[in-house]
């Protein structure tokens, strides 16, 4: 076999396959693909030990475009497939990619259990609040009133908040970013990669064909300063142009409030400081919605906890502490007798 020494420095191109990318022109998935390829290059990830697993949907085509190992599976089941991959070989670096329908509707159960088990995966949820591949039906994250082929008079069911869901089921790493934040997104992905356990990253992604502008109320240039807050552990929760606004904790009502520095005697000392190990704070941040509050982006929550895959293999190692099992002895288990 030909042994080739890897190039000195990997680039994003090293993680791109020769396959023609088949998303709609202008789809937010292109930007996410580029961010992921950049991130892996910057992390100097080993392509042969990296696996991308996906379910069904536009986002689920992702593995075909990554020059790593990849498994495009069935609708909603990618977290369960990835669980099997990781349990079988914990050395692999396993990424799961899917959309809001895939991971929160048909596959919501698997997403929940992967997160609560804290198996060491990066789960990237591309949230575009719509079903793209099936041509535009409303999704479990669509806002009430979404008009779609299946809801011509507007959708009537409450949407789920991906980040709040992940926090609620005991996630140990919950972060948010957006397809258009090409500097922010790779930094979040790097944190996700560094975390041991299930790293859940919700990426707001624009579907240019069926739900164009779903997030423009906080992503457009004209509003992004006022309608986004980029949280960082240990840093005051400031946002707005010139960081003139911030969040304070109203302790009597147990909620966050947006304030302007200098108004009503507010100083920077009044501004809450982000503590990513505080699940209550993370939940309050995840709940914030425009127009009264900015959307919180960045690492909302991160805690260190045992991973499922490590614990499974620790039990196996414990069972083998006195040596590998003796199969002949196992066959002769229980009561035996000899017939002469």
């Amino acid at each position: 076999m030909n042994v080739q020494s890897p190039p000195e420095k990997l680039t994003a191109r090293d993680f791109a396959t020769d396959q023609e990318v088949r998303w709609c022109p202008g789809c937010g998935d292109y930007a996410i693909l580029k961010a992921v390829q950049n991130t892996l290059a910057q992390l100097e990830a080993d392509p042969k030990s990296t696996v991308f697993v996906s379910g069904i949907g536009c986002a689920a085509r992702f593995p075909y475009y990554m020059e790593t190992y990849g498994f495009h599976t069935i609708h909603g089941r990618s977290p369960a497939v990835a669980t099997g991959v990781k349990l079988s070989n914990p050395e692999l670096d396993v990424w799961v990619v899917g959309g809001d329908g895939d991971m929160l509707s048909i596959g919501g159960n698997h997403t929940m259990h992967a997160i609560r088990r804290n198996i060491d995966l990066q789960i990237l949820l591309f949230n575009n609040q719509i079903y793209g591949l099936t041509k535009g039906q409303y999704s479990p994250t669509s806002k009430i009133g979404t008009r779609s082929p299946s809801t011509p008079m507007g959708s009537i069911d409450n949407p789920v908040s991906a980040a709040q869901f992940a926090l609620g089921v005991g996630g140990t790493f919950i972060a948010r970013s957006s397809d258009i934040l090409q500097k922010h997104l790779p930094e979040v992905l790097k944190r996700a990669h560094g975390h041991r356990g299930t790293s859940f990253v919700e990426i707001f992604q624009n579907c240019i064909v069926y739900n164009d502008g779903a997030f423009k109320h906080f992503t457009e240039k004209s509003v992004q300063d006022e309608m986004q807050i980029h949280v960082e552990h240990g840093q005051p929760l400031l946002f707005g142009k010139d960081k003139s606004k911030g969040l304070v904790l109203n302790t009597s009502e147990m909620r966050l409030e947006a304030v302007t520095l200098g108004e009503n005697g507010i100083t920077e000392a009044d501004i809450a400081v982000h503590d990513e190990t505080n699940r209550s704070l993370a939940t309050m941040l995840a709940q914030m919605d425009p127009p009264t509050m900015p959307v919180a982006l960045g690492v909302l929550y991160c805690e260190s906890a045992p991973t499922y895959d490590a614990s499974v293999h620790a039990q196996i190692e414990h069972a083998r502490k006195d040596g590998e099992g003796d199969f002949t002895k196992l066959l002769h288990g229980g009561q035996t007798w000899t017939v002469e």
Binding site: S49, M66, Y69, H72, R77, V85, S88, G334, T338, V339
Partner: protein, 622 residues
């Protein structure tokens, strides 16, 4: 309790019999399964061949005294080869009225009915649906009825240990066991040893149970015993020499999965979700961690199947297990395994359906689901387990086929086999031929759907292998590159090659043999799975009576053995006996255009030998 009491005196006047069928029946809290398994262990140690059948309710602990809370354990043991757990009972031990009313119909005319008269209270009689005690009227005149107040005698026997009345009564099953041991001249020592070990930390419980066991035995020995009760001797059977153990189907399949994975040189990832009667497999394998076995109790059946497939993708042997309704949920994942051509083993412990059906009752009604139950043209090998011990070899064979041909394989077993037990001549693992998996590591001309010319199998690559990074998935793959392809002609080609690969397995499995009898003749009784025992005994009996009948029993359901069509066409009549409404019969008729007829039942119970004999007689005397 002194050891002296456990001496078992030989009885010169025992009646010698070839075999006997005994059923212990009582409340699900009465410990009937334990009682039965003790009697089984002792019969095995004393050299009988045997077969057992536990029959327990779907409810975990149904209200005491009710008919739906009756739990029973049947054992057929003999001095000859035992093929089934027995059609009719020689002895029924009924611990209460509900046990009597639900089991009496199975007692042979003139058979022995031993009833705990102490449990035949007005309250219990009413719960069972009796308006008057059957022990006091003439309704049991056709049987040899033995009324014993086992409840009172047990409480008396254990009172010296300071247990409450309720606690004392819990040893009633051991009292009954002691009596049956006496009836058949069995030694008590194995049970006494077991009780001492089991209750080592609760010596008063151990002593009470041993006292009850001895008291039941002593009751038989003394003059107190009614004359209706005979004493019997069942000689040792002619059995192949070697070391034996008893084994259930769940045990044999789990041991076979481990053995097969070792022969393939693979780690096993067993992913499952609890379901009756398949859970026993998960429990068995969860205790094999010292062999590197990964077990994963998934959040649902679908996750179990997909996690198993993920494990196979990563280079382990992925195995999932369930029963009918759970298998239905796994089918989309199995379709993905067929499309991506990854090895996987699916164990289906069939039960009565549709839907929840009768979860604790056996059936063979998933053959269609196994062979045909997926969207699109999705062929998959299916093999079946015929006896409780057969699961060992069948599981190994499933792994051999799955890994050699890069395909999921379904193993069909059933609720009867899973729970039933029989003696097993423990095999020597070193006598099995290895079939080590060779993972692809060579990047030269590699693509993921490059096929082996002979087997048509694609290469298996472990993620982590340098220079072989590739993507696979559910979208149709190009025959020539392995990349996704929407080309219609390519889909035709891939569909054809997937079918050819599975059909080709017929060249790699044994030709179908005639189990009893010979090719050609008036009638072949064809079966598969757990009907093996009763068909075998029935055909043997009928041949002894001069009937021209043969037994053909299939292990391979799909693909079918190469010679099967030719073989079936040598008989004047083909009778397919199965516990469904005719699924194998349909398959054989559609594949071979043979005029096969069916003998079918779905009452949750295995075939009786008599039912099969009647059917054979009817066809050969018409």
């Amino acid at each position: 309790m002194s050891e002296v009491a456990a001496i078992d005196r030989p009885d010169e006047n025992r009646q010698e019999i070839e075999s006997a069928v005994v059923r212990f029946a009582g409340d699900s809290g009465d410990g009937m399964q334990l009682t039965g398994s003790h009697f089984t262990m002792t019969a095995a140690i004393e050299g009988n061949d045997l077969s057992t059948f536990p029959d327990f309710p779907a409810e975990i602990r149904a209200p005491a005294g009710t008919t739906f809370g009756v739990s029973a354990f049947q054992i057929n043991f003999g001095a000859r080869k035992i093929m089934t757990s027995g059609d009719q009972l020689d002895v029924l031990v009924a611990m209460n009225p509900a046990a009597l009313i639900t089991n009496l119909a199975d007692v042979k005319p003139g058979g022995i009915v031993i009833a705990d008269s102490g449990a035949f209270t007005d309250r219990n009689l009413t719960k069972a649906g009796y308006t008057e005690s059957p022990l006091e009227n003439d309704s049991l005149d056709g049987y040899r009825l033995v009324k014993i107040d086992m409840s009172r005698l047990t409480v008396e026997a254990v009172k010296e240990f300071g247990l409450s009345n309720k606690e004392g009564l819990r040893s009633k099953n051991m009292w009954a066991l002691g009596l049956i041991y006496w009836m058949y001249g069995r030694k008590r020592q194995a049970s006494i040893d077991w009780l001492k070990t089991k209750f080592a930390k609760m010596p008063e419980i151990a002593d009470a149970n041993i006292a009850a066991l001895n008291a039941g035995h002593a009751f038989g020995e003394t003059a107190e015993m009614p004359a209706e009760l005979g004493t019997f001797e069942v000689e040792r059977a002619q059995i192949e020499p070697g070391v034996y153990r008893t084994i259930t189907g769940a045990e044999s399949v789990s041991l076979g999965l481990l053995a097969g994975s070792q022969l393939a040189g693979l780690n096993i990832s067993f992913c499952s979700y609890p379901i009756t009667p398949a859970s026993a497999l998960l429990h068995q394998l969860a205790r094999m961690k010292n062999f590197g076995v990964v077990t994963f109790q998934a959040e649902d059946e679908i996750a179990a199947a997909t996690a198993a497939l993920g494990a196979s993708y990563a280079g382990s042997l992925g195995v999932t297990s369930s029963s009918g309704p759970g298998i239905a949920l796994k089918m989309e994942a199995i379709g993905l395994a067929i499309g991506t051509e990854l090895p996987m083993v699916i164990v289906n412990s069939q039960r009565a359906g549709p839907s929840t059906g009768l979860p604790t009752k056996t059936e063979q009604s998933d053959l269609y689901q196994a062979v045909f139950g997926r969207n699109a043209d999705a062929p998959m090998p299916v093999i079946s387990v015929s006896t409780p011990s057969d699961g060992y070899d069948v599981a190994i064979e499933a792994i051999r086929i799955a890994t050699k041909y890069m395909t999921p394989v379904m193993v069909l077993t059933d609720g009867y086999i899973t729970n039933a037990s029989e003696p097993w001549l423990i095999p020597d693992p070193s006598t099995y031929e290895r079939f080590d998996v060779e993972f692809r590591t060579d990047p030269e001309n590699f693509h993921p759907f490059l096929r082996d010319e002979k087997t048509l199998a694609r290469p298996w690559v472990k993620p982590g292998t340098p220079e072989l990074m590739h993507r696979i998935g559910g979208i149709e793959r190009s025959y020539d590159t392995g990349h996704i392809s929407y080309d219609p002609d390519n889909h035709q080609k891939m569909t054809d090659v997937r079918a050819a690969k599975i059909n080709g397995i017929a060249d790699d499995i044994p030709e179908q043999e005639v189990e009893i009898g010979a090719a050609g003749g008036k009638l072949a009784v064809v079966g598969w799975g757990s009907t093996y025992g009763p068909i075998n005994r029935a055909v043997t009996n009928m041949r002894d009576d001069g009937y021209d009948v043969s037994q053909i029993h299939l292990r391979y359901i799909w693909p079918l053995p190469r010679n099967l069509e030719e073989l079936l066409k040598t008989y004047d009549q083909v009778l397919v006996a199965e516990m469904n409404t005719g699924q194998l019969r349909t398959l054989l008729r559609s594949e071979y255009l043979v005029p096969a007829e069916g003998l079918n039942k779905v009452n949750g119970k295995p075939f009786l030998i008599g039912e099969l004999e009647d059917a054979i007689r009817a066809r050969l005397e018409k």
